[in-house]
Amino acid sequence: MSTVKTASDQADPAILGKIKPAPWIDKPLVENKRNLHWVTEKICGIVERKTPVWWWWCFILALCIASFTGMGLVYLVSTGVGVWGNSNPVNWGWAIVNFVFWIGIGHAGTLISAVLCLLKQKWRTSINRASEAMTVFAVLCAGIFPLFHVGRVWFAWWLFPIPNSNAIWPQFRSPLEWDVFAVSTYATVSILFWYMGMIPDLAVIRDRAKETWRKYFYGVLSMGWRNANNHWRNFEMAYLLLAGLSTPLVLSVHTIVSFDFAVANLPGWHTTIFPPYFVAGAIFSGFGMVLTLLLPLRSLFGLHDLITQGHIDNICKITLATGTMVGYAYSMEFFIAWYGANSYESFAFINRAFGNYWWAYWIMVSCNVISPQLFWFKKIRDNTPLVWIISIFVNIGMWFERFVIANTTLSRDFLPSSWGYYSPTIVDIFTFAGTFGFFSVLFLLFIRFLPLMPMAEVKMVMPQADPHGSKNH
């Protein structure tokens, strides 16, 4: 009894100092205790080994599909916008739908690399490079449509504030003018972000290169990076700042895209909910696309140790969350339409669900709201093929969302006398299909010639990177 008492009395404070809270062991982000060299080998290997045959097949196929867009656009420009299905009242057909669709997809990349970076989500490291690439390419695809949907594309430069002998300027009240700035900024910053992140990895490839062309190619690209701590210091700061800049950017871009509709005065467009609703949708579709792209890559290149089940789990959960937000937005629209007691507004929404485009609406709902709900179940999240299929559904659903928004409203707005029905032409369809080819071409080139994971960042989250070696068991 007493001994115990005394012991407690004369407790040595130094002991307290020694006491450390037990480290919280979470799932390793790189499995099977791989070492740094393995990572380098794995990722550089993809770039350095000789081109696999399947790559060639995919590449050629993608090129063919991409040519659809090329042909479609040549026909469009030479002949007139009439070759598309657009008409009065539906003056914006697929073009704008596709634009919003691609821009939306473009959002996941920046989100993963920027927002998750700010939120200190370490698991992002193995997927952010690929999804940034996806962003850049998606934005390029998106850019095609607003540019070419105009009637006189050769005058599109009038949208930019360039001095001219007509002494007339752009009109900055127009959401389309805002788009010009938003989209071009987004494209530029995404590219900068993507490229800057790649510099150290390019340097690694440069240093490992055997063939001269590689030496020079990656040499030039890597800007003479030297892995010096001083470099790392500024690099990390710059990376953090770009992340900080990209976060408001990524939110603003889709907000502004949503203004194209929200600022108009049409029933079903003129709603304040659009910005958050569009951003959520964008993230949703973006993550859908990330899954669609990464799951095949993972198995093709055997990246299971780097893109772990944990990663897939997280992405699924985000998809589920955003999918649910989108669902909420849908229902809220209806509520407000009813609550606003504006007959034009309420009709617009009744017409969406039950009017002549009802099928589009219900495809949208079932793909975007219902299918992601499956991700509540661990079993399904673990079943990679199923996850992949659901991600495809998400993509389809989000395209239809834009279709529903853009077309149902236009086809039946204020005056019943000018109600109409829109249906696309073959040119619409091929031009859009072609952009997937275009996207694939770029993405294939990317996985062939550029490091598809940020090695340095992956290494950072490995135990070997810890200077105190505490995790170094």
Binding site: A167, G219, G224
Partner: protein, 250 residues
């Protein structure tokens, strides 16, 4: 490993940046100078079928512009004189000058013997009237695009002189395009008409300046005086040139 690139490479990037900057600047400057109406239009001086000398007729002889371009005060369009206008003098003056043959053909037309009578054998198309001959193919110099509706009458009647857009025609032996006449040119004057406004009587007097009446000496003083006078005219005549699209585009 060894250095891939030689040492001198390190200065290349900065050189590149600089040279690209210069190149870009050069291109912009080039376009601004060579590819704008200021350059492409001004100075256009085609050779005309008849070497009509404005500096002689309008300058030395002091013919009023409206003697030939008689439509200018009534119409949106300032007409080119028809052959009979020329012939009203040149029946007597330089009656047989070979230079005027084109005009004479156009004037007499079917009337081959040029006696003013239409004899049987002359009436080729058999319509019983002297049909005029082929037109004199004057080459157009000033041309506004088809979607621009410039109206001569309103300008000439409201104190804007020919000289403002056409320059000193009365000093041109062969007429050339004097001003660039791009939209910015129009706007410039529509924004500050006072710089151009003058009394009606002086509209076709291309030599006129506000100074001709007064004793002002330096250019700046003249300009100042012009602006004062112009503002007064603007005020009293209720001049307010349109600055919106509908003024010129329909």
């Amino acid at each position: 490993m060894k250095n891939i690139f030689p040492r001198w490479i390190n200065t290349v990037p900065i050189k590149l940046i600089l040279s690209f900057g210069l190149l870009g600047g050069g291109i912009v400057a080039g376009i601004t100078y060579y590819a704008t109406p200021k350059y492409t239009r001004v100075g256009y001086q085609p050779t005309q079928p008849v070497p009509y000398d404005h500096s002689f007729h309008a300058g030395q002889l002091g013919l009023d512009c409206r003697y030939c371009h008689h439509g200018v005060e009534k119409s949106s369009h300032s007409n080119i004189p028809s052959a009979n206008v020329c012939m009203s003098c040149h029946k007597n003056v330089k009656a047989n000058s070979p230079l005027l043959e084109v005009v004479r053909q156009s004037y007499y037309g079917e009337d081959k013997d040029r006696d003013g009578q239409l004899s049987e054998n002359e009436d080729l198309n058999g319509d019983g009237v002297i049909t005029a001959g082929p037109s004199v193919p004057w080459v157009r110099i000033h041309k506004a695009p088809d979607y621009v509706y410039f109206n001569h009458a309103i300008h000439v009647n409201r104190g804007i002189s020919c000289v403002e857009c056409h320059g000193r025609i009365d000093q041109m032996e062969v007429v050339h395009h004097a001003k660039h006449l791009s939209m910015s040119f129009c706007l410039e004057c529509h924004r500050n008409p006072e710089k151009a406004l003058r009394p009606n009587s002086e509209v076709t007097n291309l030599a006129w300046t506000i100074a001709s009446g007064s004793h002002s000496v330096s250019q700046s003083e003249v300009d100042l005086e012009q602006i004062h006078a112009g503002l007064e005219i603007k005020e009293n005549w209720g001049i307010n040139p349109p600055l919106s699209c509908t003024g010129c585009h329909r």
